[in-house]
């Protein structure tokens, strides 16, 4: 085996070949430019990520979570750019090894910023040897792909205990599955761990949601006592048996005001002082993403003022809350992929339906596109864990598209939506056109991941949206 680093004629030739594939695949217009070069490179040189990462002399930051990876990484990138640092970044959200490899292959920079799939995290950490790892949350997601949640949490725990001291960690204090990783056997905080969390009791959910994924203490198995929950199982909890309580956050949102689709305002407290965060992205889940990004930015040496300024201007990550005009109707796209994330989107829609816009009286117009591709999770059971009941009574028309459209329509009927307001059109293109034609002035489109790609490609082919790999 040759020496590490991007040296050696053989390795350089492989890099050149993989790069050429990327530009070819993009020119053909078929997409796939965000993964194909990396896939090819890894086939030619399986250790390519580690070898290319050696050139990132400023080190790497990794972001992993079930929900919010792409948005959080985008926020950290924005904060880095305000201080003139432009990271190598897999910004299109391709977050398995080939996505990371593609970014390393095609971008130049002093430091790396990578969102990494939860199940790929141990391997990517081993290859990238990052300076900072942000672990934001663990929710039940695509169980057919990841195995069960606790196994994933155990893999993460092994990783943190192995690397604490050499790698810094930013952890969510409000997620017991994640927070506990930052403490050793005696409950002492590990070296280099920063916690973030929400400290505004006003934002608590009225009751624990069904899709509640952390009922038992990771240490002793006793049920946690929850004082309040904010998003899914993220909240204020304690273990009545073994003192594995919620750690005090170093970066906290102390007063939050949610403003529907317009975003939110939050007072934040950090070790470097307090500030007001104006966030142009909706929902409490994006407050969590912003806190994770802020904690990471501070750890990366970006001042509080710069970081807060960058977050105020942050744009939605690819497909996470974009608004695109289609035939005079403004179509807002919000990705849904698992119960906890979908519940937050549904809460935002309900808020939007009651915020007194002109057509709020009749309810909102919706398009849900449910696919069962591998990247969506082939198992669509999760739609019965998501609280579609939240929007019953707030919907004017709802069109179900995608490969599993009939099952989605059925779920809505049992959530209490009027059957006559529900339509089924499996084709995403025809579904979009019909939903747009029938919408009053605004349409909310909720696609799963591969449905989002289809929708985005469709809008790009009509010249309405930029192609996603640009």
């Amino acid at each position: 085996m040759s020496a590490p680093g991007a040296t050696g004629a053989g390795f350089r030739a492989k890099l050149a070949l993989a790069r050429a594939t990327g530009s070819l695949s993009r020119r053909s217009g078929r997409g796939g430019g965000t993964t194909l070069p990396g896939r090819l490179l890894l086939r030619l040189a399986p250790d390519a990520v580690a070898r290319l990462a050696v050139d990132l002399t400023g080190g790497s930051t990794i972001v992993s979570a079930t929900n919010g990876k792409t948005t959080t990484a985008g926020m950290i990138a924005a904060a880095l750019r305000t201080v003139g640092r432009d990271p190598v970044h897999n910004r299109a959200g391709s977050n398995m090894s080939w996505g990371v490899a593609t970014a390393l292959l095609e971008q130049r920079g002093r430091e790396g910023l990578f969102e990494v799939d939860e199940a790929w995290l141990p391997r990517m950490v081993a290859e990238l040897a990052p300076r900072l790892v942000v672990l934001a949350n663990l929710f039940r997601d695509q169980l057919d792909r990841y195995g069960e949640l606790e196994r994933l949490a155990d893999d993460w725990a092994a990783l943190v205990s192995e690397r604490a001291g050499s790698t810094g960690f930013v952890l969510n204090a409000d997620d017991p599955l994640v927070a506990d990783l930052g403490r050793d056997r005696e409950l002492r905080r590990r070296e280099g761990v920063t916690y973030f969390g929400i400290e505004d009791p006003e934002q608590a959910l009225p009751e624990l949601q069904h899709a509640h994924d952390a009922k038992h203490c990771r240490r002793c198995g006793s049920p946690y006592t929850y004082h309040r929950a904010f998003v899914g199982h993220l909240g204020h909890y304690e273990c009545p048996n073994c003192d594995a309580d919620r750690p005090a956050p170093d970066v906290a949102a102390t007063a939050i005001e949610l403003r529907g689709m317009d975003g939110s305002r939050a007072r934040v407290r950090t070790r470097e002082g307090e500030a007001t965060l104006e966030l142009p992205l909706p929902g409490l889940y994006n407050v969590y993403n912003a806190l994770a990004a802020l904690a990471a930015a501070l750890r990366l040496g970006i001042g509080l003022e710069h970081a807060v300024g960058a977050l105020a201007k942050v744009e939605a990550a690819f497909g996470r809350v974009e608004t695109i005009a289609v035939e005079g109707v403004s179509v807002s796209i919000l990705l849904i992929k698992n119960p906890a994330g979908a519940n937050e989107v549904l809460r935002t829609l309900r808020l939007e339906a009651t915020r007194g816009s002109a057509d709020a009286g009749d309810g909102i117009d919706l398009l849900i596109a449910l696919n069962d591709g591998i990247a969506d999770g082939r198992d669509i059971s999760w739609i019965w864990d998501a609280d579609f009941e939240l929007i019953a009574g707030y919907v004017r028309r709802i069109l179900c598209a995608g490969t599993r459209a009939p099952e989605m329509a059925l779920r809505l009927k049992y959530a209490g939506l009027a059957p006559e307001s529900i339509e089924v059109e499996p084709s995403i293109e025809r579904g979009l056109d019909r939903a747009v034609a029938e919408a009053e002035s605004r349409l909310f489109a909720l696609p799963t991941y591969t449905a989002l790609l289809e929708l985005r490609t469709l809008l790009a082919s009509r010249g309405l949206a930029a192609e996603f790999w640009r």
């Binding site: 039940r140 169980l143 057919d144 195995g147 069960e148 949640l149 606790e150 196994r151 069904h210 009922k215 038992h216 198995g221 119960p339 069962d372 082939r378 198992d379 669509i380 059971s381 999760w382 739609i383 019965w384 864990d385 490969t403 599993r404 459209a405 009939p406 099952e407 329509a409 059925l410 779920r411 009927k413 049992y414 059957p419 529900i422 089924v424």
Partner: protein, 245 residues
């Protein structure tokens, strides 16, 4: 008429949106003006087998399933056995299904089951059995097609005299070898078709309601027909997904 449902360990055994099954039964009873009682029994809690006509148990994560196996032997086994012998309907899905047998294997360890049906769940080399499934069953009212999704590491083998729930048309079933799926004894049904299995199979859901009501009515009651347009197309689509492989 009243359907009296008991959910066992709803806090622990709910990994694949098992609540969808209960919601489905509840709505279909409500729409027919059939009363619906929804009780639950968690860790340490016993129950009166005469007070419930339909008992549901779902799937759990390894840790939860282990806690439940142990607790269930102590606090619920005898009541469940009495209920089954007295024609109570039991629907046991995924992890709940594995618990019904003599034992199941978790890693290298054999965990004792409830021994309510003659079956055994073991580990074998090879991947988890995951994917869409279509089976064909017969629940006393003509051939019944059932569609769903399975995801299990364990392989379940039935004893020679034990009746499966159905035959696999597509998918893996109990063990990926013998073509059987699930188990049936009296009105006890066990299956690997997990999570919201009933929403994909309204005919199966109605059959369970009918059998559960028959227990106290003495005979199987006729169920009022519902507008099942969406239910039928959801079933067809789930089955088509399995047939595509």
């Amino acid at each position: 008429m009243r359907l009296r449902l008991l959910a066992l360990y709803p806090e622990q055994m709910n990994i694949y949106a098992d609540r969808g099954n209960i919601l489905f039964l509840q709505r279909r009873c409500q729409w027919r003006n059939i009363g619906f009682d929804h009780a639950a029994a968690g860790p340490g809690e016993g129950f009166d087998p005469a007070a419930h006509d339909l008992v549901y148990i779902g799937g759990g994560q390894d840790r939860d399933q282990r806690l439940v196996a142990d607790d269930m032997l102590r606090s619920k086994r005898d009541a469940l056995a009495a209920g089954i012998d007295d024609a109570a309907v039991v629907l046991a899905v995924c992890g709940g299904y594995q618990l019904l047998g003599h034992s199941y294997q978790l890693g290298d360890e054999r965990i004792p089951g409830l021994g309510l049906v003659d079956l055994e769940t073991v580990r074998e080399p090879g991947p988890r059995l995951i994917g869409n499934v279509a089976i064909e069953a017969e629940l006393g009212n003509g051939p019944l097609r059932i569609a769903g999704f399975e995801n299990h590491g364990g392989r379940t083998y039935l004893g020679d005299e034990t009746q499966p729930l159905g035959r696999v048309i597509r998918g893996h079933g109990n063990n990926g070898r013998d073509g059987f799926e699930g188990v049936r004894r009296l009105n006890l049904f066990g299956t690997y078709l997990h999570g919201p299995l009933l929403p994909k199979n309204a005919r199966l859901a109605d059959r369970l309601i009918q059998l559960a009501l028959a227990r106290r009515a003495g005979a199987e009651p006729e169920l009022a027909p519902l507008d099942d347009t969406l239910e039928a197309s959801a079933h067809e689509n789930a089955r088509a997904a399995a047939m595509r492989g």
